[in-house]
Amino acid sequence: MSINRILFWFTLAVLALTAPFMVYPVFLMKALCFALFAAAFNLLLGYAGLLSFGHAAFLGTAAYLTGYTVKDWGLTPELGILLGTVAAGALGFVFGALAIRRQGIYFAMITLALSQMIFFLAVQMPFTGGEDGLQAVPRGYLFGFIDLNDNLSMYYFVLTIFVLGVGLIYRTVHSPFGQVLTAIKENEPRAISLGYQVDRYKLLAFVLSAALAGLAGATKTLVLQLASLSDVHWHMSGEVVLMTLLGGMGTQAGPLVGAVLVVGLQNYLADLGSWVTIITGGIFVTCVLLFRRGIVGELRALWKRSF
């Protein structure tokens, strides 16, 4: 068992390190960013039981702030990403404080409404470049000497961020805090009766999720050298729900698989134009009808049944 596990992680590491020599690196980086975004979203939905419909606000805010400060203030990439992440976390605190008092559909609607306000700001404020977005954001030099314009260096940088981000999510889920979060998700009145002030725990989960979504958005801006309105649009909030459900919410690998699948489809079907939306929609409906636990969730159930 443990030999198998070591072999599994070794294979995965080799694949991750050699992937840019086999697949177009920019596609890989984009997939990693969205996988991190979906994993951050899943921390909230799958482990705290909170369905946010406004996560584009965090991805987008970080994307714009990182893009602007790197391009116009000349911040180094690591500082730009840090700034975007912290800003998204702070915005998450405001959203969370307003939304967590409500549950279910009301929670989702409040997050949607707040994220629409961020979208409006992005359209109106001059520094975002309006419909054009922020273009030609320079990738710059990591720590002043690693040239990120080289796709290979950039890929390993993004891979590092991805591993750290997903690692933090794994740690959070398997931490004392994660235990309380599970307890709250499973039986909130009981958690209260055991003395937990549940709103504070939900708020911390929200802030962590928002900050990590911001980390994904900030990194994405540097990868594509672009921050645009589609980053803050509610389509993006919907897409991350789709990625997570498709892969399997409440599983660690589910959102990653879902994100790679959706980004992959968008990429390889790009020639078909607006048909992409219809095809991904069709796949989504099929998946939800056939495997309610998502791809990873179903595989796990199958694995458990056969052993």
Binding site: R171, F177, T182, G195
Partner: protein
Amino acid sequence: MEQTSILETRHLTREFKGFVAVDDVNLKIRRGTIHALIGPNGAGKSTFFNLLTSFLKPTRGEIFYNGQNITNMPPAKVAHLGMIRSFQISAVFPHLSVLENVRVALQQRLGTSFHFWRSTRSLDKLNDEAMHLLEEVGLEHFSRVLTVELPYGRKRALEIATTLAMNPQLMLLDEPTQGMGHEDVARVTELIRKVSENRTILMVEHNLSVVSNLSDTITVLQRGTILAEGDYATVSANPAVLEAYMGSSAHD
């Protein structure tokens, strides 16, 4: 001042849109006793329970716990004062293991419950104590089982173990034997008697044999007010109580 009573309500009232569910209830729970709250369906027992633990806010009246006014305290704070409630449906965390259920209650005292950067292994130092609590309710062989797989009676036992982990002075049990077979009823009754040492217990219970077996004091509620109070012999001889129970469903 309130040396003998651990919990006291004064003129406790709760109205729902013109309907008075709990009406001017003055109740004292003596320290160290088992106190049962009975009454026909719709008598306001559950509402009263929810008021006591701050899950509902009273329209009027006050609640004192150890002489302290807790009427407007948030429920999580009330829990920290040592007053822990259970629920009608078994209150467990189904997708945590049996051991983890108890540990969730214990881990607060480490003060690391917000530490998302720490491993769950940091909680292992609580395992011995959690196991000890599980032994007390006879669940020591189930510690690694996922709670969802426990039979119903065992879940109630686990719930009591989790409550004990908070080291409560006052336990409020909402229908602890509801929906149980005879064997489980007997086991849980014994368990309640066992854990009542050095504690006060207030329970809502329909099963009159459990009530007569366990309680020192019984309060009968009807239409939101106290109909009678006293030990089992006194209460069961009260004509008003007999009348209130006539026509309501049979109890075993």
